[in-house]
């Protein structure tokens, strides 16, 4: 289909992809996104270098955007890890949005039921509650796939929408409604996340989980089994690895981590501390899809997700400055994120093919 006259470029299929090559592709795709966005900036009459400088300085400035950057980064880290674990077993966890919503419900449920507990007890309970809710949701997808071979992507997408409406049911004019009709009651004070060096403790929780996952996948038998399963279901079968249980397990773990994000998002951001209006919490739900992209960029390795999440989150936070301070048209920040998504998708092509220039 694609062929150029001079010089001739041949498309060659790659069977195995080396680690370095994959990393290079990830880097290239981000770089290209920056390039394309620069073009847009030019078009709008702005200086790209200055724009990027503003973005990043805002995002990392402790007095301005840094706390927001870190907060969102933590959120994305959770989502990314929630995506990575199932994919290691070969399952696409597109259902993080739903698991996040369920985690929110789980955490808030605990908070509202036991508002008078000490923070030391309440907060871990909330996290556990959120995890269990998210895990259960993930398990549904996992079991349906393992037992009945129903495509997990479709189930997850449907579940996402369902979960959205469950939250709606509880919050908008429902049992959890607050003063404003469409958002929830605020969380009790003891539920607020404590800060260490001005950083919500969930940051350390996320890092701990990342490290734990790293060792889990590398060193434990179950982690090994998951990896083998992800590479080849046939080899797993011949080696006595049980697909059904592992699928359910992987999705449950993924769901649990996404559920934790449900606690973090609201309880660790002073701007929220409750469940906001539907479009606001939907916007956060949409953020979960970044987990997919960052997960793929990090090649399913938990440790790089830490810097990668920070990076992406700085872009998310920083790009708002483009609109506000530099008076650039509204929506430019969204656009940048959109460009990153689509260039990344396009660059996936390089996983499968190598371009070879042939001299005639």
């Amino acid at each position: 289909m694609l062929s150029l006259r001079v010089p001739k470029i041949k498309l060659e299929r790659i069977v195995i992809i080396s680690q370095w090559r994959a990393i290079r592709i990830s880097v290239y795709s981000i770089a290209s996104a920056f390039l394309i966005f620069s073009l847009v900036l030019f078009y709008e009459g702005a200086d790209p270098l200055q724009a990027f400088q503003n973005m990043f300085s805002f995002a990392f400035d402790p007095k301005l955007g840094l706390s927001l950057t870190i907060h969102r980064a933590i959120f994305i880290m959770f989502c990314t890890m929630a995506f990575i674990v199932p994919l290691r077993a070969g399952l696409w966890n597109i259902g993080m949005e739903g698991q996040f919503y369920m985690g929110t419900i789980g955490a808030f449920f605990i908070a509202y039921t036991f508002p008078n507990y000490q923070p030391e007890i309440l907060i871990p309970l909330m996290i556990i509650g959120g995890s269990i809710a998210g895990a259960a949701y993930g398990a549904v997808t996992g079991v349906l796939r393992g037992r009945f071979n129903v495509n997990e992507v479709v189930v997850a997408l449907m579940l996402n929408n369902i979960a959205f409406w469950i939250v709606y049911l509880l919050v908008v004019g429902g049992p959890w409604a607050g003063i404003a009709e469409s958002s929830s009651r605020p969380l009790p004070n003891s539920a607020h996340a404590p800060y260490i060096f001005n950083i919500p403790f969930t940051f350390f929780l996320a890092i701990a989980i990342a490290v734990l996952l790293f060792f889990f996948l590398r060193m434990t038998v179950t982690g090994y089994k998951i990896r083998v399963l992800g590479h080849s279901e046939t080899v797993a079968r011949i080696s006595g690895i049980n697909q059904v249980t592992l699928f359910a397990f992987a999705m449950t773990v993924g769901g649990a981590i996404a559920g934790m994000a449900g606690y973090h998002m609201w309880a660790a951001d002073p701007a929220f501390l409750m469940i906001p209006r539907p479009d606001a919490y939907k916007a956060i739900g949409d953020l979960t899809y970044w987990g997919i992209i960052i997960g793929l960029v990090c090649l399913l390795n938990p440790i790089p997700t830490i810097p990668a999440s920070l990076f992406i989150s700085s872009i998310i936070t920083g790009s708002t400055v483009l609109v506000r301070r530099m008076r650039l048209p509204f929506g430019l920040d969204f656009l940048f994120l959109g460009i990153i998504s689509i260039t990344f998708a396009a660059f996936q092509f390089f996983y499968n093919y190598r371009l070879r220039v042939m001299r005639r």
Partner: protein
């Protein structure tokens, strides 16, 4: 309908929401400057463009179809916000109505019949169905798998773009931030729910649509109807999951031929 055609040829396009967004935005802006017809046309064309993009990525370049679709969707969200949000506001042109319904409804019905006819009565439709089931077998029978998938995906996406135009021009009449509000996902579920048959699709879309709107003010029809809005909104998705599970079980497979297109979502690799 667009996604139904695409999936019948074996390609999953999860970017429906994005295509609708693009269609809506493009047609809105076009209609503001030109007229309604141009708006519809523009929306459809934009849909086709992105359908082509998705085809190139998933069919020729063998990129994972889910990733590609998501890429389109996320990009659409970003781009459309950037492009059209500054024009937030009502539409300046109005669409003539026929018998209280917008002409788009009639267009849709015509397309539905055409879709049914093409799929079941033409050679092209037969080839498409074959490609969705077993591309290797189709290839051996002389079917150009790649071409069929391209056509189905692009046309399907064009229809999605058109639906975005319809949404905006005929119903909403004004632009706001991300107006599609999850309808694209509803459509995705609907395709699966309809078991890839145009007839069921019609029934399903009426049912889904009814439930969706019914949820807003159930009291007008059934006073005292207990289920609140969110529950009704959840129903279509729940029903889709249930249906999918049922048709995936062995016993169902043996009795009915209503399985999903076998090769759905799998890239076609020539030996």
């Amino acid at each position: 309908m667009g996604e139904l055609l695409t999936q019948r040829s074996g390609v999953i396009n999860v970017g429906i929401e994005g295509l609708m967004l693009f269609g809506a935005a493009t047609s809105f802006l076009t209609a503001q400057t030109f007229d309604a017809f141009a708006g519809f046309l523009a929306g459809t064309v934009v849909g086709a463009v992105f359908g082509l993009f998705h085809s190139i990525l998933s069919v020729s370049l063998k990129v994972n179809q889910i990733v590609s679709g998501m890429g389109v969707w996320l990009f659409a969200m970003g781009f459309v916000t950037y492009w059209a949000d500054r024009y937030t506001g009502p539409l300046r042109v109005s669409i003539p109505k026929i018998a209280g319904l917008t002409p788009a409804v009639f267009v849709a019905l015509v397309i539905l019949v055409a879709l049914w006819f093409v799929l079941n009565r033409t050679h092209f439709g037969l080839k498409t169905r074959a490609v969705g089931e077993n591309p290797a077998a189709a290839e051996v029978s002389g079917v150009n798998v790649v071409r069929i998938r391209y056509i189905c995906t692009t046309v399907g996406a064009a229809l999605c773009g058109f639906s975005g135009s319809v949404l905006l021009l005929s119903y909403l009449g004004a632009w706001s931030h991300l107006p599609t509000k999850g309808l694209g996902w509803l459509a995705f579920g609907l395709v699966m729910f309809s078991l890839w048959r145009p007839g069921i699709l019609l029934a399903g879309s009426l049912a889904f649509g009814f439930v969706w709107q019914f949820a807003i003010s159930p009291h007008t029809i059934f006073p005292g109807f207990p289920a609140p809005l969110p529950v009704n909104r959840m129903l279509p998705f729940l029903m889709t999951i249930v249906v999918l599970t049922i048709i995936s079980t062995e016993s169902f497979r043996k009795r009915w031929a209503l399985m999903k297109p076998e090769a759905l979502g799998q890239p076609y690799i020539k030996e």
